[in-house]
């Protein structure tokens, strides 16, 4: 199995720096997602790891060995493409056999490996089908099987779920994640869908403008974003104005805001009196009927969507909040409410601008 190390990797197109000196260490068997909006350099990075795109500067090491000058066909990677890229003139079996033939694997072993991997992706009886006789989800699983059957050093996936419908996409997330765990293969996954990156990855690499904005576990990225841009990219966020009062227990600051005085998690230290911006996730907020303390406000809109209800609440202090709750509370549009937010729902984003 393989450890991948990317060092100051850069790709320039003319004067544009598509990827600008990024460094990532990927542990053996780790599932890493490159997450970012289109044009952030995530796909270019993946293509450089695969060898389809030449690196302008920097190194890519597989187990310590620099592969920058190794052509794609010799890098021993398994790749899954957004449009699956199954060979349309070959059956499922022939598609899977292709990589094994290139490796000169003997027939009997080839048979057993194909059977095993088809079993793994639950396509046992489909080996004689042509790609156009399969559904999108099945084609996707064949593409996965074709990449895995060669037992590559690393698995690269380029937005593999983008062409599937929402329900199938959710199923495939879990499917790919479980499969990757079972095989234990080092995996790099490119996506612009934050929920996909969160569910599947051990660590998420958030990229903006060719640079790494933050690397961390999904909970780190979501709960402790480095800046506003990241916070907004990985989910919805309420911004609350606050003032530093002083230090609290380890890593926390006491901050005064419309919700009173709370001890808020923070990465950095700020002098008392500094104006700061707090983030507050919509699902951390609790609404109660009027007169139960907290911040006072009025519900201006209510959107019911089954598993949750979205509220818009105008606080008397002027801020508008976005709130998500379980649909078991009976608060209607126009009701006056008490808004409560627990201390651990806040995160200190930084000094107010």
């Amino acid at each position: 199995m393989t450890e991948v190390s990317i060092e100051r990797l850069t790709k320039t197109f003319g004067t544009a720096r598509a990827v600008d000196g990024i460094s990532i260490r990927i542990a053996d068997g780790e599932f890493i997602s490159l997450l970012g909006p289109s044009g952030c350099g995530k796909t270019t990075t993946l293509k450089m790891i695969a060898g389809f795109e030449e690196a302008s500067e920097g190194a890519i090491r597989f187990d310590g060995k620099d592969v920058v000058n190794v052509p794609a066909e010799k890098r021993d990677i398994g790749m899954v493409f957004q449009n699956y890229a199954l060979f349309p003139h070959m059956t499922v079996d022939q598609n899977l056999a292709f990589g094994l033939e290139m490796r000169k694997i003997a027939k009997p072993e080839m048979r057993s490996r194909i059977a095993k991997v088809l079993d793994m992706v639950q396509l046992g009886g489909y080996s004689e089908r042509f790609p156009n006789q399969l559904s999108g989800g099945q084609q996707q699983r064949v593409a996965l099987a074709r990449a895995l059957v060669i037992e590559p050093k690393i698995l690269l996936l380029d937005e593999p779920l983008a062409n599937l419908d929402a329900k199938l996409r959710e199923e495939m997330r879990v499917f790919i994640r479980d499969l990757q765990r079972r095989v234990g293969i080092t995996t790099v996954y490119v996506t612009h869908d934050q929920a996909e990156a969160m569910t599947m990855s051990d660590r998420v690499v958030v990229m903006f403008g060719g640079r790494i904005a933050q690397i961390g576990a999904p909970s780190d990225i979501y709960e402790r974003p480095e800046n506003l841009e990241i916070a907004q990219f990985v989910g919805q966020v309420n911004l609350i104005k606050g003032t530093i009062i002083g230090a609290a227990e380890a890593g926390k600051r006491r901050v005064a805001s419309v919700f009173g005085e709370v001890a808020v998690d923070s990465r950095e230290d700020y002098a008392p009196g500094t104006a700061v911006t707090l983030s507050l996730r919509p699902e951390a907020i609790e609404l109660r009927p009027e007169g139960q303390g907290g911040a006072a406000g009025k519900v201006t809109a209510r959107y019911y969507s089954g598993s949750i209800i979205d509220y818009r609440v105008a606080l008397d202090s002027g801020e508008t909040l976005h709130v998500q709750t379980f649909p078991n509370i009976r608060i209607a549009e126009g009701d006056r409410v008490s808004v409560h937010a627990p201390a651990d729902g806040f995160w200190l984003l930084g000094a107010a601008k």
């Binding site: 695969a50 794609a72 493409f81 003139h89």
Partner: protein
């Protein structure tokens, strides 16, 4: 038959296209001595005459030989040109396309005269078949080029990348992935090339060696002095030969490619 006017229109178009062929085929079974339609009695005598006519037999062999050689050369060069055009031409793409299609735009007689001067200027002359074959390659090249580049445009580059990631070198990728997937275009182009070469008059007329003759030229020669139904028999055989080439290629080479 929901749209009678449209149906009638289509029938008329078909009649316009096919009637001359039917007349020729009909006239070839004429028992009389003159090329007339409708035929005066039915007979295969003119086919017998044709098949015993050495001059025509030699001409048909020459035509088939030239068409086969020209098709192979044109198919190879045209496919390579299309590959360059689609994958590597970059900002020269439009220039390459115009250059490749130029033989279609020039009047064939000009191409033929230019080639005639050329083969004499470089000392090849018309004593060998080289000049004529080169001419046939030139006028059939655009058809191969158009067909192959059309099928290359629908070739998804990620197929090539997938094959690379699976460990296939350039040659293997061409042989096992690209060629099978662009085969319909290559075969289509080659068929066009064969038929056009088999059928062309002007180029062959200018560039043929003394004493050699292709079927269209021989037919023209024949009609200058004779007006028997043998000419119709020759035409019918050439129509049938063309059809046979199309159908056989389709069956032998083409059938498997239509599965996707």
């Amino acid at each position: 038959m929901k749209r009678p006017v449209l149906t009638l229109y289509c029938l008329l178009v078909y009649a316009f296209l096919l009637a001359p062929i039917l007349v020729v085929v009909g006239a070839s079974f004429n028992a009389g001595n003159f090329l007339t339609f409708p035929p005066q009695g039915l007979s295969l005598r003119w086919y017998v005459t044709f098949f015993h006519n050495d001059v025509f037999m030699r001409a048909i062999r020459t035509s088939l030989w030239v068409a086969a050689v020209a098709t192979v050369i044109s198919g190879t060069i045209g496919t390579m040109a299309a590959l360059y055009y689609v994958q590597h031409a970059g900002r020269w793409k439009e220039t390459v396309r115009v250059a490749m299609l130029a033989p279609l735009l020039l009047p064939e007689v000009l191409t033929a005269i230019a080639l005639l001067f050329f083969v004499y200027a470089i000392g090849i002359g018309t004593t060998t078949m080289i000049g004529m074959v080169a001419g046939h390659v030139l006028i059939t090249l655009p058809f191969v080029f158009i067909n192959v580049s059309a099928s290359l445009e629908s070739f998804d580059p990620s197929w090539d990348m997938a094959a690379r990631s699976l460990g296939a070198d350039r040659l293997t990728r061409f042989r096992r992935i690209m060629l099978p997937l662009i085969k319909p275009g290559v075969i289509g182009g080659a068929l066009f090339a064969f038929i056009i070469s088999f059928d062309t008059f002007t180029i062959s007329f200018m560039l043929k060696g003394i004493g050699t003759s292709t079927l269209p030229i021989q037919l023209f020669d024949y009609l200058r002095t004779n007006f028997t139904p043998e000419a119709a028999a020759v035409s019918t055989v050439s129509i049938v030969l063309t059809l046979v080439v199309v159908i056989v290629s389709e069956k032998v080479l083409g059938l498997r490619i239509h599965r996707f």
